[in-house]
Amino acid sequence: MDMYFYTLVNIIVTIVFIVAVLFVAFRIFAWKQGNEEIVMLPKRRTQFEVEDISFNQVTLVSDIPFVNKGRQNGTIMDLYPRHLLPQEQFDQVSITSWTTDASEERHDGYWKSVIIEPRKGGTVRLRLILNAKTGNIRKDLVGFPDMNIDIVYQVVGRSDWHISKNRLILTAEELQHAMRQ
C-alpha cells in the first residue's frame, strides 16, 4: 500500500514540477518578447499656435508626438483630451478640446484605432477652441491661468487593454505669446 502511495506522490510532484517549469519558461519567454509601451511625449510638443481667430473665438493647435517604446505592436483604440479648468479658477471662456491623428486628420473628434509598430510613433494634433462668454475673446482671456490638459488613451496589444494619460500644460505665458503672433 505504501509503495502505491509513494508512487502516486512522486507522479504528482513530477507533474507539479513540470507545470512549474513550463510556467516559468513561459513567463521568461513573455518577458523577453515584451509588450507594447505607447507613451505621449508632451515635453516635445509644439508650442500652441493660433489656427483661427474671430472676435469671440480662438482656435489653438499643438502637435504632440508619441512613440511605441515597447517591443510589440500596440493599438491605440481611443484617445481624447481632457482639459481641466474649473469655473472656480477661471470662468470667462468656455472651452472645447479635441484630438486627431495628424497623419490622417479627422474633424469629428473620433479617434480611429491605429496600430503602432515597435519603435515607431506618430503625432496627435490637439485643438482647443476658446469661446468668449462676453463676446470679446481677447478681453475675456485676460487673467487666463495655467491650464492642465490630460491626453487620455486606451491601448491594447498582447497584454490586457489599459488606459493611460499624460499631462501637458497650456501656460498663461504660452497663451499670451500665441495671441500676440
Binding site: F26, F29, Q72, N73, I115, E117, V156, G157, R158, D160
Partner: protein, 217 residues
Amino acid sequence: MANLELVPVHTRILTHRDDIVEAIMHYAGKDIGPEDIVCVAESVVAITQGRITRPEELRPTWQARLLCRFVPAEGSMSSVYGMQSAMELDGKWKVFGAFILGAIAKIFRKDGVFYQISRAAALTDDVTGTMPPFDKHIVYGPKDADKVAERIVQRTGSYGAVVADVNDLKRAAVLGHSRGMDPKRIARILIDNPFGNDDQMTPIVIIKNFASISERK
C-alpha cells in the same frame, strides 16, 4: 458582346439594425441582373448579424494569454482579445488543441492546420480590422454564409451570390456561396479587391454578365 465587369456599390455604414439582403436590394437592386453575381464583404455580413464584440466585454483566459504570444504580430490572433474572441465561439479547449496540432503540423511543414480546425480563429478580425465605428470592435466571421448567399439570389434574382473575404494583400476567399457557384473562380475574379478600402464604403460588388461569359467559355 458583353464583358465581365466589376461594379462596386456604395452604401452607408451598415449596422446590426440592417438586414444585409434588404440592404443589397436598397442600394444595388436596380443594377442587378439575371446574369450577375452579387458579392458581399464578409465583415459587413457579420456586422449586420450582430457578430461583434469589444475587448472590454471579454475576460481573457490563461489559454488566450499563452497562445497569443506565439502568433506573429500581423495576425488577429496575436492580440489577447483576438485570441479570446475565437475561444468564445469555438471553445477554449478546441482552440487550444487546434493550436497544439497546428504547431505539431508545422514541424512536418504543413501550414494552416490551426486555422482549418478553428474557423473562428481564421475568420475573426481584431480591432482596427474594419471601418469606424467598428474599428474598436472585434468582428467575427459571418454565420450561415451559404444561406445568406441563397437568400440574396432569391431576393435579387441574380445568377449567383457569394460572401467573400478579400483584402489588399492579394488574398481572396469565398466563405459562402449560392448553389452552382465555383468559389475558387469567383475568388480569382475578386483578387484585386474591388471592395476597395474601408473609407470607400463599397461592401457590395456586382460581377456583371458572369453567366453569359461563362456560357461562351
